[in-house]
Symmetry: C2
Subunit: 528 residues, 2 copies
């Protein structure tokens, strides 16, 4: 079961490198079968080749003219699309996710690269500001000062298990770092190495075809505790992108802070994505509401960062009807294959713990294969929920918790007790507006994205999206890991004072040869 | 020597609070005299009153309409100006700085507040982005998603010793936090408590006059090791601004990272602000160049964040002439009073250490009073400099190091060995352009501001300035603590998906009632 193009090697600055460590195999979660090839694990010396090459590549890569830079991103998108069925077939094998989901995820991944190509062409991300000299100002003349944002330098990106394409090799972290002008050293997730190798090969081919320094992109396999930690500690690395567990993210944050020169870590970690169903919303179609919830909570076997892990439902008849509708749908649900045996085991352990703290509202049946546990919905009341941290913890997978409340007036205080979240959702009707308005300020402090009358799964890639949020949803609430704003994570401002025009970087020259949007004295250039 | 309006108390949410701790007095550095009143130190319970009030004030303060918000900032500026001579007199007593310097610093401080009023009126800092719904998109409709930046919440600001106005009570950190919509708990620097109390009183009067929640601003005196650390650890505090020593900044960073919910710390710490004199620049007026250097290095007794602590000068005759001109100017220089006895002691200790590692090129005479040590310029060569960390360390005060080099080709590698800096300066003539171009990429990675043919002291407050830089110049290279971009330190993005217009915050409503600049599908609203 080896696709001919898979080598089991790392790809360091354009060269295939066989690691000195053991070869690890992916396991097909649907069957438990071992997948070939085995992937050789590199050591810390081999890692240094990748980070050194990234550092060497930085100077030329960050200086690329916009069109060359954007065309590189566009061509990476095309090259990934050109992988065709081979990519989807391998991803299905390695993740157990359905073809339709993975095909959609590929579109999202390549569209995201193309979106960043557009961001690079437009150039607003360069943050150019010009404060012209005022030679006759009293008491002192004002110097000419110009500002732009420059890329931080080489970025380490860690692949996520649950999005083998959109949050992995060419996912949001890689795309936004490359768009910012940062070379990337990508550490593949061990659960989908073949998928990752295929995508990495596509990126490397485009790097070569464009004549870029090969250090712009490296793709490595290695143990997290040694190579992963060494990658974050490497002096050439200037920022880190990560999507995964809270423990995994926090260990990278710690390593980054312990460096002689600390660096930012953008870790997207855990979230239970509370959904608040208001009384008015239950006056409508309860069956449709329940169906939307079940689909969002159980889809992709619940393995989505924005899966609704808790839903707050009024007590009383209409709320009971909602719970009954949810229960009957979930009772008939069949477990879908989870991403890996380890993830299925962690899910079972979390669900068992919850059994001891909440009642079971509904439980489906086990699916086929070893890693498709029965989905489960628990129920509790608001008082138990707010006083019991265990009930507020994420269970990664097809589990969710219905929290019954008596009065919408209780919701703001309850929401204030929640940890930071990626999303918070309101289900409301017109009558609920005042109560919703009272809850909104709390949700703004707790979440990166607030939805009304929808479900948080299905993150749109665009300019206005925020996929981020207060700790522990992420390690840095000031950013997003999805959407065009994500590029700002990898930039910092530099000011240039009285530099001769010939020495100024292109976007700051008087003639503005790249045609980037600029602020002059704080206003868009051309405005009075 | 008590101005009638000074009470020696903290000001917590509009109330004068006498601390439970000892009363500490400022010392006039020029005379060693103890200044009245003594300032009572609060305890951690009293601190909690301030942080709780700030949290209570947050919801209404962050929702202020632009004009009310901007008028508040303008009026704070006016009220500080209205303190008149009393403020300057007290600041001179407490800091030993000259009247002209402090008068200029006050102008800078109040102009900065007015600049932020303009930023608030314009509204671009709200970062509004709208991606309208596309109901008929295939395969899935696109939701309406809108983004804005919201303030982080209450901010702790620590006053700096060296700028009793511009980096203290109503300085850049306070001004940018208030402009972002964040209440501020300000911990006064113990070396200029009276100056700080006067400014705090002005802010509090304007808070009251505008009918704002009094928790918008509190001003506290307390021991750093207990109250300062507790302030950073307080769960209500969401970000920290600090300007001071590396050890002080790092201890706050550590405290912030150790919290259950870590928060960002913007600490501006240490910098030697390298100046690279290229051979061509020495073909011009060497005396003027030397005079500019001496003025920048010795002004304000060298106690400026951007003081040029090292200057790289070519070997050979012209370089010798520069050093000779510097030496003769410094030999005649007289020590100016430093900010405090502790700072003068630390300077003496640093200068003595340097005596053991470099030769003395010039030394002035001690000034009047106990805390006005003789300025000193040391000299060394490039090889010694790059291999000796001691020579690269900042000596806060009127000391600087001339580093002689043989060939401009050596400069990029030497600069790459430097730590992160606030500024890097080039002195160049036309002939130096190629050599300067080779050095620039290194300087961009090392510094927040790059100057040509000027001196780094005298930081312009504007839209394009960057007063920041890579660690250890600051704890977060992605920002600036001076200029309008500083507001972004206290903001985070939130997205709103499919919210009814009535529930959207004002800047996101269809009608855009605040008239803020917005991006629609990534382009300025109104552009195609």
């Amino acid at each position: 079961m080896t696709a001919p193009e898979l080598t089991g090697d790392s790809l360091i600055a354009g060269r295939r490198v066989t690691g000195t460590g053991d070869r690890l195999h992916a396991i097909a979660p649907a069957t438990g079968e071992t997948l070939e090839p085995g992937y050789s694990q590199i050591d810390v010396d081999q890692l240094r080749e990748a980070t050194r090459a990234a550092a060497e590549a930085f100077e030329s890569f960050q200086a690329l003219a916009p069109e060359a830079h954007a065309a590189f991103l566009d061509d990476v998108a095309d090259e990934i699309d050109a992988l065709g069925e081979d990519l989807i077939v391998r991803a299905v094998q390695e993740t157990g996710l359905p073809v339709a989901r993975l095909t959609g995820e590929r579109t999202r991944t390549t569209n995201q690269l193309r979106m960043f190509a557009g961001v690079v062409r437009r150039g607003a991300f360069r943050g150019v500001r010009v404060d012209p000299a005022i030679p006759d100002r009293e008491p002192l003349p004002r110097a000419d000062i110009r500002q732009r944002k420059v890329p931080l330098g080489p970025v380490a990106v860690f692949g996520a298990s649950n999005f083998p394409l959109a949050f992995s090799t060419a996912g949001g972290d890689t795309a936004s770092a490359l768009a910012a002008g940062c070379p990337v050293v990508f550490k593949a997730h061990s659960s989908h190495p073949g998928t990752s190798e295929l995508v990495a090969g596509a990126i490397a081919r485009v790097v070569a075809a464009h004549g870029l320094h090969p250090g712009v992109f490296s793709h490595i396999f290695g143990p997290g505790r040694t190579v992963g930690q060494a990658l974050v500690s490497d002096p050439e690395i200037q920022a880190v992108g990560f999507t995964g567990s809270r423990s995994g993210g926090l260990s990278l944050v710690q390593a980054a802070q312990a460096r002689p020169v600390p660096i930012p870590v953008y870790a997207e970690m855990s979230s239970v994505n509370p959904v608040f169903v208001f009384p008015g919303a239950l006056e409508g179609d309860v069956a449709e509401l329940a169906s939307g919830y079940v689909t969002s909570a159980l889809g992709s076997s619940g393995q989505l960062c924005t899966q609704p892990g808790s839903v707050f439902v009024p007590s009383g008849e209409r709320g009971d009807a909602f719970v009954a509708a949810v229960s009957s749908a979930v009772d008939e649900a069949i477990g879908q294959t989870m991403l890996s045996p380890a993830i299925a085991d962690a899910w079972r352990s979390g669900a068992e713990t919850r059994d001891a703290h909440a009642s079971v509202a509904a439980r489906g049946s086990d699916g086929e294969g070893p890693n498709a546990p029965a989905p489960v919905i628990h129920a509790t009341d608001l008082e138990a929920f707010v006083s019991n941290r265990v009930l507020q913890e994420e269970i990664f997978g097809a589990a969710s918790l219905i929290v019954r409340y008596d009065d919408v007036a209780e919701l703001p205080a309850a929401a204030a007790r929640l940890e930071g979240q990626l999303t918070a959702t309101l289900h409301i009707a017109d009558d609920d507006a005042d109560a919703a308005r009272a809850l909104l300020p709390v949700l703004e402090r707790k979440a990166g994205r607030i939805l009304a009358n929808g479900w948080p799964t299905g993150v749109e890639v665009g300019h206005a999206i925020v996929h981020g949020g207060p700790f522990p949803a992420t390690s840095d609430s000031r950013t997003t890991s999805v959407g065009s704003l994500a590029i700002e994570r990898f930039l910092r401002p530099v000011a240039y004072q009285n530099l001769p025009d010939a020495l100024l970087p292109e976007p700051l020259k008087d003639a503005n040869p790249w045609g980037v949007p600029r602020l002059v004295d704080g206003l868009p250039e051309g405005e009075a």
